[in-house]
Symmetry: C2
């Protein structure tokens, strides 16, 4: 199976490159060609789903409850589904009650509704740097002032968050919330250490912080480990977002948010204004998937599919990358976050890469402040195993050639390509 276009690359390219729609289309008429290996789209490997089981579930649903499945539903989402989502959260030790949940159109709608609920133009929201591009999108559409806290291999540098909070307090300012993807973060591929989770929870108490905990990848640890959730540590200070997109399928567009009752009520009203209600059809499909199929076995299968792909990518990177290139080593999720040596700008390099039949997402898409020019995100979840190696070989060739060019042009006086935009401390991750 092949997608006609790669929607992820499309929207990232629009952010990163400032390209026009027609330029993007031209790029994609090229990038979607089968000869190109795309590490761009953060797409689950839906081909690994037990499709016969999905077919049986869909057919039985329409046959047995069609009139209800095809009708309008309530804005909060079906109580039956919310009970099942609470069970999923319990698998990671995340406490919640079905009443606290609002079913959303993927995790993305949750991020958007929360931004709409809390953010007025100019309000500060703190996020990891880099962070999920859709999180930036939701915040930008409400004109938030996004401040990034650098990351390292143990996730967000909570010590630097503490400094930032002190600095803001000195200016008489407070963030509306701290947005974090603590598990197998997109795009950095790292997780927040247990120590830092506890410290973040303490900071939330001390600074009266609201935390937005976004957890799409928590069940996709390669070894099946789980981490203590922030909601577990300081439940009353955390709004939690989950999704079925990575443990089942993004095509059902089913996510959820768990929030304290006053926030939950506001989110239901905003969601009704936004699109009335989640689709009964897809909600009920998820319910039947969770109640009639061995969904945990499917999650294990996904884990093993992604683990294998990650190993292949990491081995290829070791073998193919020129000196000076660095990358994170994921223990779950979909992503490797790669840093190129000085002199290379990953946004500028993308067209050449596609010409060399390999695609990635340039790092700038994951920052609200123009930094990340020396980074790229490589997604290993989607391409077939044999193509992952080939793609990394191509990327290695490209970077070798590009570094020779940089050396020839600049010698030892290499310009700093990492940032376009306001002058702020850059990310420390991988570089």
């Amino acid at each position: 199976m092949r997608l006609d276009t790669d929607p992820y690359l499309e929207r990232y390219a629009a952010r990163v490159q400032g390209m026009s729609a027609s330029e993007i289309r031209a790029l994609f008429s090229v990038a979607s060609r089968p000869e190109i290996v795309s590490f761009a789209g953060g797409m689950p490997n839906t081909a690994s789903l037990d499709m016969e089981a999905v077919e049986a579930v869909a057919a039985a649903l329409v046959r047995e409850e069609g009139a209800l499945a095809l009708q309008y539903g309530g804005g909060q989402g079906r109580p039956e589904l919310r009970e099942l989502l609470v069970d999923i959260m319990r698998h990671e030790g995340v406490p919640a009650h079905a009443d606290d949940l609002v079913v959303t159109v993927g995790g993305q709608q949750a991020l958007e509704l929360i931004a709409k609920c809390f953010v007025d133009p100019g309000d500060i929201v703190i996020a990891e740097g880099p962070t999920y591009v859709g999180g930036i999108g939701a915040l930008s559409s409400h004109q938030a002032d996004v401040r990034h806290v650098p990351m390292d291999d143990d996730g967000m540098r909570v010590d630097l968050l503490e400094e930032m909070l002190a600095r803001l307090a000195g200016e008489g300012r407070r963030p509306k919330y701290v947005y974090t993807v603590p598990n197998h973060q997109n795009p950095a591929g790292v997780s927040l250490s247990v120590e830092r989770r506890h410290r973040l929870a303490e900071l939330a108490e001390v600074h009266d912080l609201l935390i937005l905990e976004d957890n799409p990848y928590g069940l996709l640890d390669f070894d099946g480990r789980t981490w203590p959730s922030l909601r577990e540590l300081v439940p009353e200070r955390v709004i939690y977002v989950g999704t079925m997109s990575k443990t089942f399928a993004p095509g059902v567009r089913t996510g959820w948010v768990a929030a304290p009752p006053p926030v939950r009520d506001k989110l239901v009203l905003l969601r009704e204004a936004a699109d009335l209600c989640p689709a009964n059809l897809t909600q009920m499909l998820v319910e039947r998937w969770l109640t009639t199929q061995p969904w945990q076995e499917q999650v294990k299968r996904f884990r093993s599919v992604y683990h294998e792909r990650a190993e292949v990518m990491l081995r290829a990177l070791e073998a193919e990358m020129p000196a000076g290139v660095e990358w994170t080593v994921p223990s779950g999720g979909f992503y490797v976050w790669l840093t190129v040596p000085a002199g290379i700008d990953t946004s500028d390099l993308l067209a050449k890469a596609i010409n060399h039949r390999v695609a990635y997402v340039p790092g700038r898409g994951f920052y609200g402040d123009g930094s990340g020019g020396d980074k790229m995100r490589l997604c290993f979840s989607y391409p077939p195993v044999e193509r992952i190696h080939e793609g990394i070989v191509r990327l290695g060739e490209l970077l070798h050639a590009e570094l020779e060019l940089v050396q020839a042009v600049y010698g030892d006086d290499i310009p700093d390509m990492r940032r376009r935009g306001p002058d702020e401390p850059g990310t420390q991750l991988g570089g």
Copy 2:
């Protein structure tokens, strides 16, 4: 088939009554009882769908294209679906190109994204009075100043719109757009006359107006007639919203907006921030429905189902209503809009009505300015035929009793119950 709750009544009740969530739940634990005839929810009769055909379509989709159907898609919606939606528009003579379309989560998301695109707090948007409650919801969530133009049996009083525009121009103000549901309007059940459509198009030219044409019910004229669309008359001034909710099923949450390219591009960006993309699964289900099934025959079946129900309701109203009660006579769509005599407040009456085993939506939900206290919306699309008569009998008994009470309490000095809120000219429709 019976719904567990009536989501429409729920959200209208919240708007109209200012009730708390727990009060609403208590009301609905009563209102959802099978002995109550609900004319409240604006729900299509999904039980009239050919469910075997839907089942076959859903099963074949997962079997043949499951991996794609369960994957992420592009923010604008699938090109294949957009081509088919253009065909549907052509059935009503509405011109469009697939490139101009953005697929949305029902028509509601289109209304929300358009409001987000155009409305800053305090901006004026003109709408019919009464108007679709979800339209008010989308506008209110962006703090629009909604101004209502009264209606009569020929739809919006375009002469009064002209006066309003002149008045606003005198104040140096312009509306961001005019929101209209020209065909079988929700809740008024009337359509904009051909003459007024042409006059509205002229006004749009003269006053440089943008029109938001929302057309959920255009194909549900009982006699299969269509009306000239505003997009046909002044294409460059009209943003058009359509939906599959009434011609197929709301459960697929598939609507669309047709807009000029600069607006379309903005809407795609906003939609990606809102929820990334429409569900491939439901989009592809709609595509297969439209290409492999006789969807126009299904629309004819819906028309005849709704026509029969409308006739039953209108006959029952003639027989059962006390003198002084008036109502509109729909030629399509789902709704009858009813006006009660002075002294009765339909918001206050709702609890008594539910106690008398009949439910409706109080008129105030359809105005942004507190008017409509003497109105109610009766939806005939959903209840079984035999129950429609019974429900109107109960409503007649209730209104007879209530009018006797009013007469006994007030005599000839009956207070005006129509309005709660700012003092503005009330609707003329039905009164």
